[in-house]
């Protein structure tokens, strides 16, 4: 029998968990449970990120989203957790309306997702790309296990030759060190683009120092603002 593609396996696992709990969030009425489901959904999503090779983003998701944001939310939940608000029913009509509109949107998105042929996955390759395809799809057929890197990836990365070393699957030896690159990118040095042999792609790509600064300032402002609001409310109370 053909070997299980563990990437697919875990993808299905995580995506199912994520979607299922997302829907659970949607249909649950108990706000605390919603938060809990959301946690699980986000956790599963971070798993998806790891699968997609974005290990740093995944960890970030876990740390900030699941860790920070949701703790914050649960805070709110508990601060406002009083009988009537725990579960607030929604009128059926709105449900219908939401379903229709959401369905439309979903249909639209799905249609878009499958509209492009190249996106169906590495297998759907034109023969011209075959060597490269073989190479870069190779790690995917590798069983999913930490740091498994058998000769095939080696050869793959060798045969790939010209192709930048950033490409192999995230669990192989040459796994892209997204952490470092992201760090450098945020500091304005796009080290990943050194490997970008295609000038048209390298062209116009720059670092993210300014957005980084802006975001950090923004965060500061937000913290101050949040603190202020919180204080203001306490004053309002007494």
């Amino acid at each position: 029998m053909e070997p299980i593609n563990w990437h697919t396996f875990f993808f299905l696992l995580f995506s199912l968990v994520a979607c299922a709990f997302a829907v659970a969030v949607l249909i649950s009425t108990n706000i605390v449970r919603m938060a809990f489901y959301l946690t699980l959904s986000l956790g599963a999503t971070s798993g998806l990120f790891f699968l997609a090779g974005a290990d740093f983003v995944g960890a970030m998701q876990l740390l900030i989203y699941v860790g920070g944001t949701l703790v914050l939310l649960i805070f709110g939940v508990m601060l406002t957790a009083q009988g009537p608000f725990i579960s607030m029913k929604t009128a059926g009509g709105e449900w219908v309306l939401a379903t229709i509109v959401g369905g439309a949107l979903l249909a639209l998105l799905l249609q878009t997702a499958f509209s492009v042929n190249d996106w169906h996955g590495p297998a759907a390759a034109t023969p011209s790309h075959f060597g490269a395809r073989e190479a870069s799809s190779d790690p995917l057929t590798q069983p999913f296990t930490p740091a498994t890197e058998t000769a095939s990836v080696r050869t793959a990365s060798v045969t790939r030759g010209a192709k930048p070393a950033g490409e192999p699957s995230p669990w192989s030896e040459e796994a892209p060190r997204t952490a470092t690159r992201l760090g450098m990118g945020l500091l304005g040095a796009r080290v990943d683009l050194l490997e970008q042999h295609d000038d048209t792609l390298r062209h116009g790509m720059s670092g993210y120092l300014l957005p980084f600064e802006i975001v950090s300032v923004h965060l500061l402002v937000v913290l101050v603002g949040a603190a202020y609001l919180a204080r203001a409310k306490r004053r309002a109370r007494n």
């Binding site: 709105e94 309306l97 939401a98 509109v101 959401g102 439309a104 949107l105 639209l108």
Partner: protein, 803 residues
């Protein structure tokens, strides 16, 4: 790192550290420790560090360049003398052969050349563009010009400033908590009660140190000027430190305004330079020095082409091509020499103001209103010496005429100040006048070509005068008065102060045993006197010699007068004497340190040529003195030529200090003579001198009153005419605005109202959409998105189909 980078780095750090501490104190001053006590330590630490850095730089410099033997012609007589002195460890035999060639080609290209380090740290701006005019564009840079002189100045300023900072820590301690100023009486009869200003004091000190060092290290005239003004403002701020006191604030203003007069001259000088040479920088191939004393001419004084062209602009306008031959011809005719003179005089004007020379010396004595450490640091050791330093730095550019002017100004100052100092009774004022006269002495020495001697004296003077001031400060600290007549006999109460001050007095009077050993003042003074002798000998300006010699005598006289009146004899004011006490160790330890310097700074390190004099010798500007072109019979003698006069110089100096001290002892020590008799005898002269030669009064009549009159007249005109005009125009304006108002109301408002109304009704129409339902909004967003997408895709298809 290569030395040429290390030294600027070190000095730059040493320069910027005080600025840093200034910034820190400005920001956090009062919050540092209890009522800002830490600010003092910060400032002290900063200046201490920069002192260490400067010394380090000095060490590196020495280690790189070493110190040459002084290479002047030795005559057997001096040979003997030299051999016997510790100062010069040289051998006649070695130096003998050198005479011939030295006299042959003059000092111009003597192998004294240690190339100064110059460069730019940061360019503030470039004005004009390359090739726009015949000048290079004017670059205003933060640059540096470092030679031995600079480094020595750094070390000197660093050391003294450090001592004074430490001293101030104790001296200003009462500023730590609220101060009741007994010299200020408020309208309600009470004394002023104000919070202490400890941090402010040290913040000013730091700013001053920064500015002073910047002035020293400056690499171009513009930068010099900037820091020149900075030290000015620091001195202003510190003189007016107790600004509630009327006297203090007036003194500060006086200092500031008088200095402006000098700086005006300086600006003229700078304009003369820039307008004709188009550069401010000292060093470098196109620097001022290189232009005025081109190496091609063996560093002789040459009027630069720029000045020649500037002077001959009429001919050039008339169409004469300024070829090099033509320019040389013009130069022969003396074109542009005037400009050079003006430049020199202008720059010297600044120095006159800053270091309180004759016409503008009036501010310095009043500046004694500031706290004593300030007087010691700014008004004795460093800032006032900056003028002398600048003259020394600018020496190559100065023509003999300018030098002569400088010499006379110095001589006059020296004499006037010395005479005034005799009769002054305020201990600090005595020192102030002595400072003025010593500065005059330096100026004189520079003016008569004694470059080395002058700067030499600048260094020694800095040390012992700072020492003297600090001592007087500790005395004042002890008895809370400046009046010497109320002191006396303090020797027993405050031995440290008394004896360190005694050392200071000995040093400033130039006490020493000829041919054997002497205090620092001894060496510098006899160098100056020697130069004066040779100058008088070569060009019969004997007056300067007399002034210098007499000055020496008077100096030692009033210094010892001061010492006797303060420390010797019996206490005149019991009350004060009871309460007098020795200052804390943190105050008299700096005294001791400075005393050590005052004694030994001029000595030679045994068995090495390493001595301050030989160090400065390295920095001596290249180039021989040439004859003046306006006063053609005037030639400034070379300094090395002055050594044949060393004997009489030494003798004269010794005689002078002996006379002075004997007189002082006679009058105030053993009181065998009564000063009162003299006072009665020469009542007129006494009152004349006592009133400081009526300088302030004369100035009041000459300048102050006219200005007041003028301003009154202006005020009157203002009131009578201009106000009337303004009122009228106001009336008209009212009339016009009435009309305007009507227009506004009828037309503009009407329009605006209509628009507003329509907007309002529109809003009323639209508000229905604003349901306030968050979720409804979300719905609409989604619907909009989908709709948009559909539309776009549809239109895209249309477009594709259409194309």
């Amino acid at each position: 790192m290569e030395l040429s980078q290390t030294i600027p780095l070190l000095l730059g750090l040493a320069w910027l550290l005080p600025l840093a501490s200034f910034a820190v104190i400005v920001l956090f001053g009062p919050r540092m420790g209890k009522s800002g006590v830490l600010s003092g330590h910060v400032a002290t630490g900063a200046i201490l560090t920069s002192a260490v850095l400067s010394l380090l730089a000095l060490a590196l410099w020495l280690e790189k360049h070493g110190v040459q033997e002084p290479q002047q012609p030795e005559h057997d007589s001096h040979g003997a003398r030299r051999m016997s002195t510790v100062r010069r460890v040289t051998h006649v035999a070695e130096n003998e052969p050198e005479h011939a060639d030295e006299f042959a080609d003059g000092p111009a290209d003597r192998p004294r050349g240690i190339q100064p380090l110059f460069g730019s740290w940061y360019s503030l701006g470039t004005f004009g563009s390359e090739g726009a005019s015949r000048f290079p564009p004017l670059r205003v840079e933060i640059g540096y010009y470092i030679d031995t002189l600079t480094i020595c100045m750094f070390a000197m300023v660093g050391v003294i400033a450090t001592c004074i900072h430490f001293y101030s820590l104790a001296y200003m301690h009462e500023e730590l908590d609220d101060v009741t100023d007994h010299e200020v009486t408020l309208p309600d009869g009470h004394h002023l009660h104000r919070p202490g200003r400890f941090p402010r004091f040290f913040q000013y000190l730091s700013l001053f140190c920064f500015s002073m060092l910047g002035l020293v290290i400056a690499g171009n005239l513009a930068m010099v000027f900037v820091f020149w003004e900075l030290v000015g403002i620091c001195s202003y701020l510190l003189i007016g430190f107790y600004y509630e006191r009327k006297s203090a604030s007036t003194a500060a203003n006086k200092a500031f305004i008088v200095n402006r007069v000098g700086d005006f001259g300086m600006i003229i000088g700078m304009m003369a330079l820039w307008g004709s040479l188009g550069t401010f920088t000292f060093g470098g191939p196109d620097g001022v020095f290189a232009l005025v004393r081109p190496a091609s001419q063996k560093h002789h004084l040459v009027v630069p082409d720029g000045m020649v062209r500037a002077a001959a602009r009429d001919q050039i306008a008339a169409g004469v091509a300024p070829t090099s031959t033509q320019i040389n011809a013009w130069r022969q005719d003396g074109y542009g020499y005037g400009l050079l003179v003006i430049a020199g005089l202008g720059v010297f004007c600044g120095c006159v103001g800053k270091s309180a020379q004759f016409p503008l010396h009036v501010w310095l004595p009043d500046a004694m209103e500031g706290p004593t450490p300030v007087s010691a640091l700014i008004h004795a050791a460093t800032m006032v010496a900056a003028g002398v330093y600048l003259v020394g730095r600018f020496f190559p550019v100065l023509t003999p005429e300018v030098l002569l002017v400088i010499a006379y100004i110095g001589g006059i100052t020296l004499f006037i100040a010395a005479t005034i100092a005799i009769t002054a009774t305020d201990i600090k004022r005595v020192l102030a006048y002595s400072t003025v006269s010593q500065l005059g002495l330096m100026m004189l020495s520079l003016g008569i070509g004694g470059w080395l001697a002058g700067l030499y004296h600048l260094f020694t003077h800095a040390f012992f005068k700072a020492l003297l001031f600090l001592c007087s400060g500790s005395v004042i600290h002890a008895c809370h008065t400046n009046e010497m007549p109320r002191m006396g006999g303090l020797r027993k109460k405050m031995p440290w102060t008394a004896y360190t001050m005694l050392i200071g007095c000995l040093a400033i009077s130039g006490v020493g045993i000829p041919g054997f050993l002497g205090l620092s003042g001894f060496y510098s003074k006899d160098a100056i006197l020697a130069q004066a002798f040779s100058f008088a000998d070569s060009s019969g300006h004997t007056l300067l010699l007399v002034a210098a010699t007499a000055g020496a005598a008077i100096t030692s006289f009033y210094m010892f007068r001061l010492w006797y009146m303060t420390f010797a004899g019996s206490p005149r004011d019991k009350h004060i004497y009871e309460h007098a006490h020795e200052s804390p160790s943190v105050m008299y330890l700096p005294l001791v340190i400075l005393a050590v310097f005052a004694v030994g700074v001029a000595w030679t390190m045994p068995l090495t040529p390493l001595s301050l004099e030989n160090l400065l010798e390295q920095a001596r500007p290249k180039g021989a003195q040439s004859a003046g072109q306006i006063w053609t019979d005037l030639t400034i003698p070379e300094e090395h030529a002055s050594h044949e006069f060393h004997d009489q110089a030494t003798l004269a100096a010794t005689a002078m200090w002996v006379i002075g001290i004997l007189l002082a002892t006679a009058f105030y020590g053993v009181r065998s003579l009564d000063p009162e008799d003299v006072r009665v005898q020469f009542a007129k002269l006494y009152s004349f001198v006592r009133h400081k030669w009526w300088f302030d009064e004369i100035y009041a009549v000459l300048f102050v009153q006219p200005v007041l009159l003028l301003s009154r007249a202006a005020a009157g005109i203002d009131r009578r005419w201009i106000d009337w005009l303004v009122d009228r125009s106001a009336g008209w304006t009212v009339g016009v605005s009435r009309v305007d108002d009507a227009i506004d109301r009828w037309f503009v408002d009407g329009l605006v109202d209509r628009i507003a109304n329509s907007t309002y009704s529109l809003g009323l129409a639209l508000r229905g959409w604003q349901s306030g339902r968050l979720r409804r909004y979300v719905m609409w967003i989604v619907v909009g998105t989908v709709g948009l997408f559909v539309l776009i895709s549809w239109f895209l298809e249309l477009a594709v189909a259409g194309s």
